[in-house]
Each structure stands twice: as structure tokens, then as C-alpha cells.
Symmetry: C2
Subunit: 312 residues, 2 copies
Amino acid sequence: MFIHAVSHYLPEQVVGNDHFTQLNGLSDEWITTRTGISERRKAAPDENTSTMSVAVVNRLMAKADLSTVDLIVGATYTPHDTIVTLAHVVQHHLAIADIPTVSVSSACSSLLNAIEIVEGYFALNKASRALVVVTEHNTAYYNEDDTVSGHLWGDGAAALLITKERQSDNDMTITGLLTGGAAHAGKAVEAVVLQPLVRGVIMPYGRDVFQNACIYMPKASLQILERHNLTVADVDYVLPHQANLRISRNVMQTLGLPEEKLISNIQYLGNTGCAGCAIALSERWDSFQKGQRIVVTVFGGGYSYGAMLLEV
Amino acid sequence: MFIHAVSHYLPEQVVGNDHFTQLNGLSDEWITTRTGISERRKAAPDENTSTMSVAVVNRLMAKADLSTVDLIVGATYTPHDTIVTLAHVVQHHLAIADIPTVSVSSACSSLLNAIEIVEGYFALNKASRALVVVTEHNTAYYNEDDTVSGHLWGDGAAALLITKERQSDNDMTITGLLTGGAAHAGKAVEAVVLQPLVRGVIMPYGRDVFQNACIYMPKASLQILERHNLTVADVDYVLPHQANLRISRNVMQTLGLPEEKLISNIQYLGNTGCAGCAIALSERWDSFQKGQRIVVTVFGGGYSYGAMLLEV
């Protein structure tokens, strides 16, 4: 299958580290040293996962024909509405009748879960042109005065048109992908939680998240490469889940790859959850060269992980 | 594919219509005439979608070997945690490492979306023994003093072991299924909503839900029958989404089938969301006879719909 087009949407408001210095006394240096984050975006009061999903789909519409989309898979762990999910809002916006429409969550890993679900529909011949929309509204649920994780989160969205058959020379090939739950590992089921009725994303065991992210992302990357008889030497770029720049650098070190091959937007977007990798893919889309290989690898609360091999 | 085993879990507390008479002045007769509901279950203060999912999986474990499960799909629109989803809690509980694990929402339709996702994984040969867990904790999110819909909701859970190959003579065959979003129809994106940060399932356009449920469930049922060269004459039971007994009766009338062929538990469970049909399947499992055909058809907020043909 192929990624025919991808778009991203970022809310206008930029929140710098100075905001958290004023709020919690965390200095810019303290935050950047530990996380790599200097800025993040914050949705406006009238924005949410539904509105941002519509905004990002409008941008995709400028790049590709969405009128024949036959499957919509949304993903978020920061839902505006769990009944009228963002996938439904997008279906309504596109006014395409009677196509499978579902939203998923595997926390920050959901992009790859969503694409794997698309892969299944393609295998069943139940769809051939799928719209994947990944949107997070972290600032709706975060506790910004939490000195452990308040400064990590940002808002944003991305949308991908994924097709069973190649549509153009510029399509990116999804050579393979895998996902997995790792709820058995470490403090998986208590390390990062978002209980909507309690409010707030909290991260009581940040170190456990860090350690498992550093184990699972390289492991999944090597696994997907091995399945396709490739090694790290064949990889042009690694695009890890944008959780923390130190995690991303650790992943590159474990894989034995130089930092030039790392794709990262966390410096100016923070952790945008399941949208982060797809936003980066959209930002860099025009810079990729024919023949390049990109490994996208994700890790999320719960825990969950995955890896996807892309070929330009 | 096949349903090898199914279990259900209901919280102990029974809430009768007298509760709503005292609270909102709605009489037992008023409620039963309009909805068919006499009682519903309410989760205890220490219960939620995670604990109920574990409870129902424990019951399934007594009926089937879950140690070789290789895919978990959870479903709920009333999540306890959107990061550590109920699917992850179940994976943790089963202590099965590194298998695809995801939770979904298409509101009350999610049972069939979850099974269709399983179908995709089976087609990809990425799984062959899938655990589907559907759990709703409506009373965590409802407004019980809402005289429009407060009295409709109940809590409950069900779990199904779905296998690619037949495991025993008692397995039920999933002959086919389809799902669809109908977010384009009527007042789909505003008729039933659950915005976690606002709290409360609300149903501002109940009549529109009623009308579309009565259109989509018979339509989807006929569609799935037609795809398998069958007619309503070949159907032994219809198991519609348990939203309202008047909707269920309307569906039977439209299909031209007598009420004896209707499977219903809404009278004593209320609307248990995406768990309702699966609970009913578990309740009736031992009563089905070899050769019988059952059409499960669902409709949910958003809107979403689906139909599944089962053969005993």
C-alpha cells in the first residue's frame, strides 16, 4: 500500500518555555536539557480534536481527491467526543455515505495501529482508499502545572490518504508495518494515564516510560527491517515517536545511526501524541529523495509500540 | 472465522424504574411504554471499564484457553482511561507479550467494528486467535437527572474469543459482516454526544436517532443476507442493538419477522452500548440450535451501523 498524500495542521498559539518558568519555575535550560522542547502549540478555546481534524482534512483535500475515500480511521487519546468520534466528524465533513468509520486509541502509537487496520481492510477488499486522521488535543487534558509532564505536551493533527494501488510517482510505499501492545512490560498500565473523569494526562513513572521507549523503538525498527531483509545500513531516516529528544537520540545510538538521520519536530511542537510522526512526515514530505528508506517507529502509554518501513 | 466462546459480566447493583420516579418523576409505566426498560445495572464505585473488562475476560478464561490469544481489540465509548485502554489492561492481565492491542470507538456499533478489524488481521495472517472485549460504563458519564435519556443507560461487558479456524463443533460461524459510518445522515453528529470534558451522554435529537436506527438496522440486515444469497425467511433470530424496545420491534416489523425471533435484553439491562448485543449472545449461547442463523445488527451515535450473519 501507498501513502499518496499527507497534510498537517498546527494551532496558531505558540507556548514557549518561559510560560512554564512563570508558572512552575522550570527554566528554559532545565526543560530543553531534559526534553529538547523549546516550544509547543496550543489549540484555541474553540478548537478541539473534531475541529482540528476537519482543518487538517481540508488541507489534504487541496493535495488529493478525497471524494472516493472508502474508509476513515481516526485516532486520538484526547477525544472531544467519544460517540461522535473525530472519524465521524470527518465523514460528515466529506459527506461520503456509508463507508466504514472508526476511531482508535493505542495512545501515542495509534498512527501505526490505524494504518495496520487500513492494511486489513485492503486485504479484505473492503476498501482501497483510506483516510487516516491522527489528532491530539493534549492541552485539553494536561495539567500544565504538573512539573513532571505539564511542559511536554502540544496540540496538532495530521491526515494521510493511503491507497491500495499506487496513484502517482510521488507516492511513498508502505513496505511493511508491525504493531504490538507491551502492557506486560515494566509499569505499563500505570506509567502514563489519562482518565477523562479525573482529568489530566499524568506520568507517575516517567523513567519506566523512558526506558521502555528506548528498548521497544529500536527493537521494532530492527524487526521490520529484518522482515524485509534489510539492515540499519539501508535506512536513510528514522522517525521515532516525538516524546523526548533524549529518547530519540538514545534510539539512534542503539541503532548505531548518526543524528543526521533522525527526523525530529519535538523541539518546536512538543509531544503531539499519535499525530507527531505524521506531522513530521508531512513537514518533510517534499525533501525526501527517490529511493530513500524511512523507518517510522512509535511507542506509547499502555504500553504500545510499532514500526513501519517506508520507501520513497 | 468463528466465535469459539463468549462471556458476559454485569455489575451487581440493579436500578429499577422507581429510582427515576423518585429522581425525575418519570413513572414506571412512562419509561416502559417508551423504552421497554424496567431495570438496568450500575457499576459499583470501584468498578470501571478496566475492571469490568478484566472480570469478563476471567469468565471467558473459564470457557476457553486464552493463553494463545494473538490480538486484542477493545471497544468502549465510556473509557476509564484513553491511554491505558481496556485492551491494554486485558493484555496486562493475560500477561501475553507483544501482540497487537488496540481499543476502538464507533459508539454503540463498536462490537462489529472490532470484529471487522479482527477479520482484517486474520486476512493478513497477522493473527488467528483474537479476543474482543466490549465494555460500557454508561453510569460514569450519564446525567441521571436528564429526563430525556438518563433512564436509558446501563453498565455491562462481554468478551468473545474469535478464531480463524474452527476450534470445536460448538463454534458459531461468522458468515459475513459489514459496517458503515452514517455521519452524513440526519442529525448524526449532534444527536447523541459524549464530550468527556463536559461530562454526560446527552441525546438532544432522540427522534432522529430513533428514525435512523429504524432505517439502518433493517437495511444493513438485508444487505448482509443478500451478500450471502439469503432472505429474511432464512433467519431464525435477529439481535439488534439494544437501544430501545420500540426500535427493536420496528426493525422486526420492517423485516417482516415475528417478535418471537427478536432477541432482547434491554428490558432488564437498559442500553449497555456496544456491549449489549454481545451480552445477549452470551446469555443465549446455550439455547441456539445447530443450523440456526442469527443476524446481529447495530446502530450507534455518530452515526454508525453494521450487520453480522452468524450460523450455529
